[in-house]
């Protein structure tokens, strides 16, 4: 089949969504299809730009290329997943979150504009309508599927996929630190981890890996750690290579990953592949689909004190941590998270 994968691209930004889109194309090719990635530049501010970009996507004709039909379009992100095509399926990484679950929070950048609420209403209404065009709706996770139902009234099938280089993760005996690899930004809540660290009774150590979305944010976190008196128990690794990341996963006692309403969360899966337990929070979204509280990790309340209690528990019972890590690896195997399954579902949707 000739397949186009449509997504948006913020120039000079490269993260999980870009990796995911690239992997999908690679796996489609590996399965014997002709596949191309169509990346449409996207800017969401000022907010009327979102409508301009949506219109631009709608005016594109992807039904054929060079006189040969395009058999399938797989849409991943707003507004690129709204391109017209008679055989389009959507595999939604997430909707534009400030229109939906992040509205009414301080992260809703849209709400800082006078016309923000009006534009939100328009786009929510439009999206509800345009989603009918897809032959089938898939979501990156159960969490994303639930949001789609809640906000847009559509049902999507969750379709899990493996993290990049899933086969390369490995396991080593645990050392005395918790690992948190992620972009440094508000939604990932590194701040909450630092506050929790200040409330632990055990001398818990946390290694953060990842680049800040904004340099000021790292400075703020470091200042918070100093003010809380825990800067000596934190290591800031910055951006690290994939190999170093896998090594840290392999050697850590466990992974702490308490984001706010994460869509999917490779970190959980990578920890499971490394046979490590994950500490997450009740409002963390995607990770909750994989972490079984007390069996493959710990689920805390989203407060510093509750998170501290879970960190202490893992720190003080390394044998139990090891046991939960092994259970996590088994659970990953049970879930049959493979690209073959993903591609079968995407291309053979009715």
């Amino acid at each position: 089949m000739r397949v186009l994968v449509t997504t948006v691209k913020v120039p000079f930004v490269y993260g999980g969504a870009e990796i995911h889109a690239g992997n999908l194309v690679t796996e489609l090719r590996r399965a014997g299809h002709e596949a191309e990635l169509v990346e449409i530049p996207f800017r969401w501010y000022p907010p009327e730009q979102m409508l301009d970009h949506l219109l631009a996507c709608r005016l594109l004709d992807l039904t054929e290329a060079n006189g040969v039909a395009v058999d399938r379009v797989i849409g991943l992100k707003f507004p690129a997943y709204h391109v017209r095509h008679p055989h389009k399926v959507l595999w939604i990484l997430h909707q534009h979150r400030t229109l939906y679950d992040l509205w009414d929070t301080r992260d809703a950048d849209l709400a800082y504009y006078p016309e923000g609420a009006d534009i939100r209403h328009s786009l929510v209404g439009i999206e509800r309508q345009l989603l009918h065009e897809a032959r089938h709706l898939y979501a990156n996770s159960e969490n994303v599927a639930q949001r789609l139902t809640r906000f847009s009234g559509h049902t999507a099938e969750p379709l899990y996929h493996p993290p990049e280089h899933a086969e390369a993760f490995f396991h080593k005996p645990a050392e005395q630190y918790l690992f948190y690899p992620s972009r440094l930004c508000g939604l990932k809540r590194q701040r909450l981890v630092i506050e929790a660290l200040a409330e632990t009774k055990a001398p818990v150590v946390v290694k953060f890996a990842g680049k800040p979305d904004h340099p000021d944010y790292l400075r703020e976190l470091q200042e918070l750690a100093r003010n809380k008196g825990v800067d000596q128990r934190i290591e800031w690794l910055g951006r690290i290579s994939d190999e170093a990341k896998r090594d840290h996963y392999a050697r850590c006692l466990g992974v702490v990953f308490p984001p706010l309403d994460e869509d999917y969360g490779y970190i959980t899966l990578e920890a499971m592949l490394s046979s490590k337990p994950v500490i997450t929070c009740q409002d963390s979204g995607g990770p909750l689909e994989f972490v079984l509280d007390g069996q493959t990790g710990l689920v805390a309340e989203p407060t510093a004190s509750s998170l501290a209690q879970s960190m202490d528990q893992l720190w003080n019972t390394p044998e139990k941590a090891q046991e939960m890590g092994a259970a996590a690896r088994d659970r990953y195997a049970d879930l049959r998270i493979t690209w073959k399954h993903v591609i079968d579902r995407l291309l053979h949707a009715s």
Binding site: E48, L51, D52, L55, R58, L59, D104, R106, A108, L110, A111, Y112, Y113, P114, E115, G116, A117, D118, I119, H121, S122, V124, G125, I126, R128, Q129, L130
Partner: protein
Amino acid sequence: MRLNWFSPLPPARTDIANYTARLLPPLAAHAEVKLWAPQEQWTELQRPSISIGNVLQKRLPWTEINFREFSIFQIGNDARFHGPLLDVYERHGGIVVLHDTNLHEMQRMRLVEGRQRPEAYLALLSRSGGAKAVAVGRRVLSGEISVDEAAAAYPLTDSVLQGAHGVVVHNPTQLKAVATRTSAPCLYLPLPYLPPEALPEPVQSKRQAGDPLRLILFGFLHGTNRRLESILQAWAQFPQRDRLRLTLFGEYDQAHVSRTLEESGLRQYAELHGYCSESEMDALLSKADLALNLRFPSRGEASGSLLRIWSHALPCFVSRSGYYAELDDALVTKIDPGSELIDLHHHWSRFLTAPEPYLRQGSAGLHHLKNHHTPAAYVERLMAFLPEAGRYRAQAYLERWLPHMTQKFMSPIPHWAAQARWRERIAAEVASWAP
């Protein structure tokens, strides 16, 4: 439910401020209300649950405004109060309550005198009526014709309809007219007054045969539409003129009126007051026999003044025009604008000799007020309307965005025909987004 309510507040010299004050108790029972006023000071409210902000501040807290489900804007014809509200409305969108449908004078004051941007005023006219309307606007700017004359031809109601989530009018005759000019849901609501239990005790005229007839005229009396000059002229020419007394209060050129009365020898029969508080207004109305509430040309307004007049069971003369023409004849006496002087003389004479039919109208007016103009009923119907307006909101923004967007992207395309084709294609695409 959380809502933003944009309105002048007491002590602003507009009855729309009093209207909002009257609605607050039932509003607060239905919703968490944030008031936004075009002023820096206001009379303290007795309701601590309602917070107030002013729209004149340099940086409005948009998140606070945006996170409330509905925004309701009170739009009247005085740019001093409604200009700043309209500035917010144009950027934010919302439900508009049209206290007047003729917004020409307000827009002229706002754009020409306020912003010193006559070209913006002419642009509004261009959108309303093309080159012909612009020519009329230029004549207004040069003083060749009056604003009233231009307003009659180009009321500029459309200037607030584009992008409205919903439109509320207080004048049933305007409902159809407005509904034909917007796809937004429209609603007629009778203007609210005080709840029946809060009405002042009406004192019907204790006037004896032979006593002079005490007329009263009040409100914002600048311009020609309140007919002040015509009334003074009719009085001067009335054969039994020394049997009339006149009380005036509100906003008008007091020196000019005083001079006119001096010239016609009537000054000693007139009592002139400036702006009055609500209690002062009620005190003056309780001493009157007959209210004059003429409006011509109609600006599409309903009249808060009429409700106040009825609250005193006071007979009232109105113009046979606009909203007033539709009122039941049992409630008011209608004066034909084409024979205003003759009609006024006729009814004054009759009132002097046989007041009973007029007094019955006053009583019927009070009864009507108690049954049709309660704040509680107003708020209930408004709340029932909000979901419909909320559903239209998704489309309302597209109405604002589409012309702006096509202008932005089409202007580089040189050939008008190509532009037209693109416009059609884009319009068709956007139309397909609607549910």
